[in-house]
Every structure is written in C-alpha cells, then in structure tokens.
C-alpha cells in the first residue's frame, strides 16, 4: 500500500533530476515575460536609470464617466426645481376682498354686478321668446298609415350589390303553434257567468266547477291513501315475528333434533314402500284416469249444448262488448284530438297554468249591477290566456331565498327591559 501511494505521488510530480528533466518540467513563463518587458523598455529608452514615480503615475482629477452618469441620474426634476423656487414677493389672494376692492362710485352697483345682471336678463328674454323644444322622445309614430301602399322604388342594378337588403323572414316564422290557431284570443264566458244568470245556466256552471273541485279532492285523497301508514303492515310485522319464532324454535332446540331425524327415517321408509305399486293399483289408476277423461268430455259437450241455448244472450254480450270497445276507442281518439288542439301543457320546466272556473255561489249573486262584486282577475285571465296559447313559456316567480336562515338574538340590555321600563315609568309618574 505504501508503495502504491508513493508511486502515485511520484507520478503526480515528475522528476526533476537532471538538467534536461528540470528544464522540461518547470514553468518559467512569468520570469520570461518580466525580462521581456525590461528588454523592451531598454530598447525604447536605452540603458538608463529607472523612471520616477511621478513619471509613471498620475492622479486622476477628471473622474470616472460611469460615476458621472450615476450622479446625473440622481438629479431632481426640473419641475421640482422650479417649484422649489420661492420668490421673496408674496402671492396675491384669489378672492377679491371687499376691503381691497374699490367701487368706482359709492352707492351705485359695480361694473361687475351690472354685467352679470345684463347677462341674466338677456338669457331670460331669450327663453321666454322661443321656448326650447324638448326633443320628442316619444317619437310620434302613429301619424301615418302603416298599411298604405309603399311607393315603388326604382331598382338600380348597379347599386343592388351595395345596398343593404332587409333580411327575409324564414319559413318557420309562418308556423304558428297549434294552440294559437285553435284558441280564441278572448274567450267568451259561459252563460252562467252572467251577473244575473238564469237558473239552469248557473246550475250547469256550478256543476262544472264542482266536478273540477271533486277531481282535485279525489286526487288528494288517493295520494293520502297511498302515503298513509297501512294497518296491514302491523299484521305483517306480527306474522313475521311468528314465522321467525317458529323457524328459530326448530333450529335452536337440539333435544328434538334426534327425535325428528328418527321420524324422518321412518317416513322415508314408508314412502319407499308406497312407491312400489302393485299391478292392481296401476290398473285401477288407469281406469280412473280414463273415466275422468270421459267424464270431462261429456261435461264439455254438455256445456257446449247449454251454450247453444244461450247463443242469443252470448251474441248480445259480445255485441255489447264490441260497442263498449268502440266507444272507448272513439273517446280516446276524441280525447287525443282535443289534447292536440289544446296545445302543449308543458313548455320548458313548468306547466301551463289552468284557468279556474269563475262562478259566484247562490248567496253571492247580486241583484243589481251596483251591488255586483266582480269575481276573478282579468290580469290573471290575460296572462293565463297568453300561456295557454303557447305564446310564452309558463313562468313561475322566482322566490328570493337566502342561503342562511336568519337567526334571532336578544341583546343583553334587552334582558333588563322590564326593569328599565318600570324605572322610566316610575319617573314619569312621579312628575
């Protein structure tokens, strides 16, 4: 190991033994450069004494340009310089003081006031003379006949490309919704909606309103029924308990297991015996089967014979059934047609509002026009009519909802409310 290290070290440093090795492995560039400098100086100046300090060096009094630039940067702005100049003379106050102003003539108004007054008078005179016409923002448009024939303009073929053409309405604009076509704009009211209706018409309308309400009530009842808790569930629970108990009873009790198993084997044996039938038994069974088949056949024939007697009745029944089916189908078709004519019940997210039937009850009917209390709201009527005709999508007012529920606190001072009040009133009473 030591030998290797030494070998390494030896390798790093080449030997300088001998003149040749020494000359090869040293670096004398520095020395050589210095000597070269001296020699070059000698060449220039000749062999003389070395120079003095003041001949070799100078003291810089001018300064570095970089530093100069930096100083220039730090200079304050010209504006600031100007503003900083403060003259010795004081500035004049903007406002003219009474003391400073000297009226040309005492008692009479100054020139300034006279000028001002003239100006105002002039302005007033102008205003009253010609009232400034306010720009008519209402844009009186109804002063011409919209449907009068427009004057035919000559078409210049050279200008056609340059003129802006009016956009042509697409064919879909002609498609009016079915509801709009089939519904009347203003629906004529029922005869029973008169303020003084005849008995029959009023009754008819009441019946109509009644049926609508009845349907609603029934629907609500049905819903309640479906949502209500059923008594059968209690019984079911009871049953389940029993069943579970029964099942559990069998598995838990181990004592009976062996007995049960013993019974089981016996039952199995019995079954096996029964399976081996005798020939007689088989024959008997076959006979019984044949007889049964015969009997059934006879019964069947008897039934058919009976039915022949009832043929007419059966035909009637069938006819009735067909008639009913036809009725149903015609009703269905009529219903579908009516629905198609009525328009869409739902456009978008919400359903079209339905107009409630407006009718006054028997006691609400008034005798005279003066005592009439109007029923129903025309705003709602118009709005629902617009929705029914599918002109706009049904809208539901957006309820403002807060993300948090407002919490109620009681201030500490409120706790002393009664005491304070009592004190206050005591004071006033005393007075």
């Amino acid at each position: 190991m030591s030998a290797e290290n030494t070998a390494k070290i030896a390798k790093a440093q080449p030997s300088r033994k001998g003149k040749k090795a020494w000359r090869k492995n040293i670096d004398i560039t520095g020395v050589e450069d210095g000597l070269e400098v001296l020699r070059s100086e000698e060449r220039v100046r000749g062999k003389t004494t070395p120079l003095e300090d003041h001949q070799l060096f100078t003291i810089d009094t001018v300064g570095d340009s970089k530093v100069k630039r930096q100083l220039a940067k730090d200079k304050p702005l010209k504006v600031d310089e100007i503003l900083a100049e403060r003259s010795a003379v004081p500035a004049v106050n903007g406002r003219a003081l009474r003391s400073s102003a000297k009226p040309a003539s005492k008692g009479k108004p100054s020139k300034y006031t006279l000028e001002k007054v003239e100006k105002i008078a002039k302005r007033k005179a102008e205003e009253s003379a010609a009232p400034v016409k306010k720009k008519n923002k209402s844009s009186q448009t109804n002063t011409y006949d919209l449907w009068a024939d427009a004057p035919v303009e000559e078409k210049n073929p050279y200008l056609e490309d340059v003129r802006t053409h009016k956009a042509k309405a697409p064919a879909t604009m002609e498609h009016t919704p079915k509801a709009l076509v089939n519904h009347v704009n203003v629906v004529v009211p029922d005869a029973g909606a008169s303020y003084n209706p005849s008995m029959e018409e009023h009754q008819k309308l009441l019946d109509k309103a009644h049926s609508v309400e009845l349907k609603k009530v029934e629907a609500a009842k049905k819903l309640d029924e479906q949502l209500a808790y059923r008594k059968e569930l209690d019984d079911l629970a009871h049953e389940l308990e029993e069943h579970n108990a029964h099942v559990n009873g069998e598995t838990v009790e181990d004592e009976e297991e062996t007995a049960i198993s013993a019974d089981a084997t016996e039952a199995e044996k019995k079954k096996q015996n029964e399976i081996r039938k005798t020939r007689t038994k088989r024959n008997k069974e076959r006979k019984a089967q044949l007889e049964r088949a015969l009997r059934e056949k006879k019964q069947h024939e008897r039934n058919i014979r009976k039915q022949i007697d009832k043929l007419e009745a059966i035909e009637e029944e069938l006819a009735q059934r067909y008639a009913d089916l036809e009725n149903l189908s015609t009703k269905r078709d009529a219903h579908r047609e009516a629905e198609a004519l009525a328009g869409k019940k739902r456009l978008g997210k919400h359903y079209v509002q339905e107009m409630s039937i407006e009718v006054q009850l028997q006691d609400e009917l008034s005798e005279t026009l003066r005592q009439l209390k109007p029923e129903g709201n025309i705003f709602r009527d118009r709005f629902v009519s617009i929705q029914e005709r599918n002109i706009i999508e049904p809208r539901v007012p957006v309820q403002k909802h807060t993300k948090y529920k407002p919490k109620a606190y009681e201030r500490r001072s409120y706790k002393n409310f009664d005491a304070e009040q009592a004190r206050f009133y005591a004071k006033t009473d005393k007075k």
């Binding site: 029922d190 909606a193 005798e367 026009l369 009439l372 809208r395």
Partner: protein
C-alpha cells in the same frame, strides 16, 4: 355502406336550439331576449323528440327554431337593446356619484329611443290581420288604463292607453258597429264588427284591480307596449276610413263631444255607405250550408240597421250610481242621446230636469221624485235591448224589481233550442199579444171540449186521449206544412239510410234520438210557458 351521416347535423338536433344557447348566440340578457321574442312573435316550440333536440339530455328545456333565432340576429331592435344597456350603465354610474344634473342631461340627450313600426308591419302585413289581433290588444289596453302609475308602470304608458281606448270607443260610436254586450262577473264583454271581423273584448269594472303576484308584469308591459303601437296604427286607419283627422281632439276621455263636431254631412253619408257594405259582407258570411236567399240577406241587414238606430228616438239620463263609461258607450253606439250628472263628468249635454228625457237609468232600490213621461230602468235593460235588437218592455226593468236573467248573447240558439221568451216581448207587441192570446184561448177551449166528448164516446181513457191529442195535432200540423221540397228531402234521407252500414246507422239513430229528446224537452217547456201565460193574466 352508404354515406356516413354525422350526428347533430340533420333533424331535430339541427332545427331546434335551447334557450341558453340562443342567449349565448344573441349575446343579450334573458329579460331582453324574452321581450324580443314577444315583440317579434317568436314562440317556444315543442320538438317531438326532446332527447335528440337537446343532444341526448332529457332535462326540461325551452326550445326555439334555429332559423327564428338566426332571423333575430338581423333585428335592429337588438342593437337598440344593447345601446340601452350601455346607456343604463352610464346613467347608473352618474346617479350613484350624485351628479343629478349630469344624469338629467344624459337622459334627455343620449337615451336611445326605439319604435316598433317595422315589427307591426312585419307581423301584420295587411290591415285585416291587424284587426284579427285587435281584441287581445283592446283587452290589454282597457286593463292598464285604470292602473296607478308606479315604478314599473309609467304614467305616460297609462295616459297612452287611455287616449287610445277613448279614440277607439269614439270610432265605434261613430261607425255604430257595436253588436253584443254582456255583463259578466269578471267584466263587461263587448262584441263589435269592423270590416267583417268580429272583435270581442273585455272591459273590467271600475274597481281597483288587485294585481296578483304570480303574474309576470314585465311580460304584460311588453305586450302593452306592442299593443299600444298596434292600436295607434289601427285607429289611424279606421279614422282615415271615416275621413276624420287623426289624432282627434277628444275634449275629455269619455266626453267625445269634439268628435261630434268633426263629423260633417258628407262624411256621414260615406260612413253609412261603409257600414251598409260591412253588413252585406258579414251577412253573406253567416250562411254556410244552404243557398243564400236574398230574403235572408235583407233580413240580416235590416236587423243590423235596426240595431244601429235602436235608440234613435230615445233620450237617456244616467244616474250617478250607474257605470257611465259603459252605458254612454252602449247608448251612443246605437244612436241614442245621453247625459249625466255634472258630478260624474264634465260637460253634460243637458241637465237632469230636461223635458226631452225619455228614459232614466238608475240602479237604486227606489226612485224618489219620479217624473211623468220618463221610463225608469236598470242598466241591464240597455244591454238586453242591444242583445235582442229591439226595445224591450221597460216595466220589467224598473228599479227595485227583480230583473229577468241577463242571458249571454254569445250563446247562439241552435235549431230547436228553447228560447226563453219572458223578456222578448216588447212594449208595442204586448197589447197585440194579449188580444191574440184571448182569442186563441177561446178557440182552444171549444176544440178541447169537442175532442174530449168524442174520446169518451169512443171509450178512450183520459190519459190516453191527452197523449194522443198532442201527437196527432203535431203530426197534422207537420203534414200541412210539408211542401214538395221537404218531401223530397225526406225521401233522400231514407234512401241514404238504406245505403249506410250498420255502424253508421246506429250512430245516426243515436243522433236522432238525442235530437228528439231535445225537441221533446223544448216542447215541454213551451207547453209549460203557455200554461203559465193565462194564469198570469
């Protein structure tokens, strides 16, 4: 394999667009989009297959035609709305800073103004189309004419409403085209006939209308805006046809006095001719199945001209408690003269104690200080007269009396319907009727006695004879009335029944059965009425 079709290029997906996408395309707010759709007449649609139209989603959405939305892009109103939005921003900023004078000048000078003329012209290319939608417009205008001005409803809008309805009512009174009136519990329904179009509109009673909370007011105001423009143009055209300058100087909303002065003689004749023409056309339109007989046309036109001069010889005075706005309109549309109490309105033509007054309309339980020569009636009398197209007996409509029912004129009595005729008797015919009835009673009694004697002799029981009586008499009458044409008709019908299938025949029989039931009912009611009449006397 055929051409590969890309999804979403054809069919429902390419024809419909949801509301949100439309908003993104048009770059306006939802409220402005709604307004634009209402004004332009772009309606929400319902595609057959919503899933395809909405790119696989079945969430409820509102659909529009893509072509409609693309058409909207060319609408100049769109730019106006955007300008208004920018203006509103500036105004808001200035107001919040507190610079009120700047705000005022901004509003006066830079507020963008738009008008809807081109939209009205687009949607209603002809005048008749505009008349078809006039009923909706009128109802809306009447509704808003009595609203108090507040934040949302501008006073100017309400004033415009009032002006337009006053002008329209003045026109109807001049042209005398009111045909039907109905006092319902919701409001007063009028039906007028203008240029062959029947226009039905509703007028609310003048109580303060409660505005329901579930009605979207912005939608109503947009409609109001559009309908105001429409009605303005329609009024202009209507007045042009009567050769009256538009806008007319109506002294007061319900006064209409100056309107009278405008009408000169020549104009009056022109207007009559116009009215007559209208009647002819409308009468011709009523007949649908059978040939239009000249007689029928003449009858119809006579009826209408009667209606127009119904109150020509009557002078009315309206009491304070009755609705003047309705009654004045109705009376003057039928040629009558009317006046009112000075506390109710300005410039009554004549005073309450004028001698010319023939009828006084009052709604009180009793009338004190009755004037001889005046008939005192309740307001329903006028409406019933107009609906019946003749002057009815005013005794049944006295104040304090129980009125006969106010029947709806919109329910047209079909063939064979029972028409309750309790109030149809007019004053003039009353006396004649009484005489006729007296005569008939006598004849009937003799006949009845004779037939009863015969029946007894024959051995027929009383009930059978009464049943038999009605039937043969009816059939006898029917045989007498049968003419050759009718016989032929019946034969044709019989032939047709033979050719029918079982199903059709059964349907026909059902129909006939229903008809017969109705006829029997009507006869029963008429018999009852006949029975009551002699009792009354």
């Amino acid at each position: 394999m055929g051409k590969i079709n890309k999804k979403g290029v054809k069919g429902a997906a390419a024809n419909f667009i949801t509301r949100q996408r439309a908003l993104n395309k048009l770059q306006i707010s939802l409220a402005d989009f709604r307004r634009l759709c209402i004004l332009k007449g772009i309606y929400p649609r319902d595609p057959k297959n919503k899933k395809k139209a909405n790119k696989g989603s079945t969430a409820p959405a509102t659909f529009y035609y893509i072509k409609d939305i693309q058409y909207l892009l060319h609408e100049p109103l769109l730019q106006k709305f955007r300008d208004y939005k920018a203006f509103a921003k500036k105004l808001n900023r200035v107001l919040h800073k507190g610079e009120y004078s700047t705000a005022k000048s901004l509003e006066e000078n830079t507020k963008p103004v738009y008008n809807l003329d081109h939209i009205v012209k687009e949607r209603y290319p002809s005048f008749i189309d505009a008349l078809r939608d006039l009923d909706d417009a009128l109802s809306m205008l009447f509704l808003f004419s009595k609203m108090p001005a507040d934040n949302k409803i501008k006073a100017k809008a309400v004033a415009d409403c009032q002006k337009l309805i006053a002008e329209f009512q003045a026109y109807v009174m001049k042209a005398k085209c009111l045909r039907k009136v109905f006092f319902s519990i919701k409001g007063i329904y009028y039906q007028a006939e203008i240029k062959g179009q029947t226009i039905t509109w509703i007028v609310p009673y003048q109580f303060s209308q409660a505005v329901p909370t579930d009605v979207d007011f912005r939608v109503m105001l947009t409609f109001l805006e559009f309908y105001t423009t429409l009605t303005g143009f329609v009024n202009y055209r209507l007045y042009n046809e009567l050769n009256i300058a538009y806008p007319p100087n109506l002294s007061e909303m319900a006064g209409f006095d100056a309107g009278d002065a405008m009408l000169t003689k020549t104009e009056a004749t022109a207007e009559d001719a116009v009215a007559a023409l209208d009647e002819f056309k409308s009468a011709g339109g009523e007949e649908d199945k059978d040939t239009v007989t000249l007689r029928q046309i003449q009858d119809a036109s006579n009826e209408v001209s009667n209606l127009q001069q119904l109150f020509a010889n009557c002078v009315f005075f309206i009491s304070r408690e009755t609705p003047r706005y309705a009654l004045e309109f109705m009376i003057r549309s039928c040629g009558g003269q009317v006046s009112w109490d000075p506390s109710v309105g300005e410039n009554p033509p004549f005073a309450e104690n004028d001698e010319r007054i023939t009828h006084q309309i009052s709604d009180r339980p009793t009338v004190s200080n009755r004037v001889l020569g005046r008939a005192y009636v309740q307001p329903q009398w006028i409406a019933d007269c107009i609906n019946a197209r003749r002057i009815l007996r005013s005794k049944t409509y006295e104040p304090g009396q129980v009125l006969p029912p106010h029947l709806s004129p919109f329910v047209e009595a079909k063939e064979g319907d029972y028409v309750p005729g309790s109030a149809i008797d007019s004053d003039a015919e009353e006396e004649e009727e009484e005489e006729v009835v007296a005569e008939d009673k006598e004849d009937d009694k003799e006949d009845v006695y004779e037939s009863e004697l015969k029946a007894e002799a024959a051995g027929v029981t009383f009930s059978e004879s009464t049943n038999a009586e009605t039937k043969p008499t009816a059939s006898k009458k029917s045989t007498k009335k049968r003419s050759a044409a009718e016989v032929e008709e019946e034969e044709q019908k019989e032939m047709a029944t033979v050719m029918m299938t079982n199903k059709q025949r059964k349907l026909y029989q059902k129909m006939q059965h229903g008809k017969q039931k109705k006829v029997a009912e009507v006869e029963k009611l008429q018999r009852k009425k006949a029975a009551l009449k002699p009792k009354k006397k």
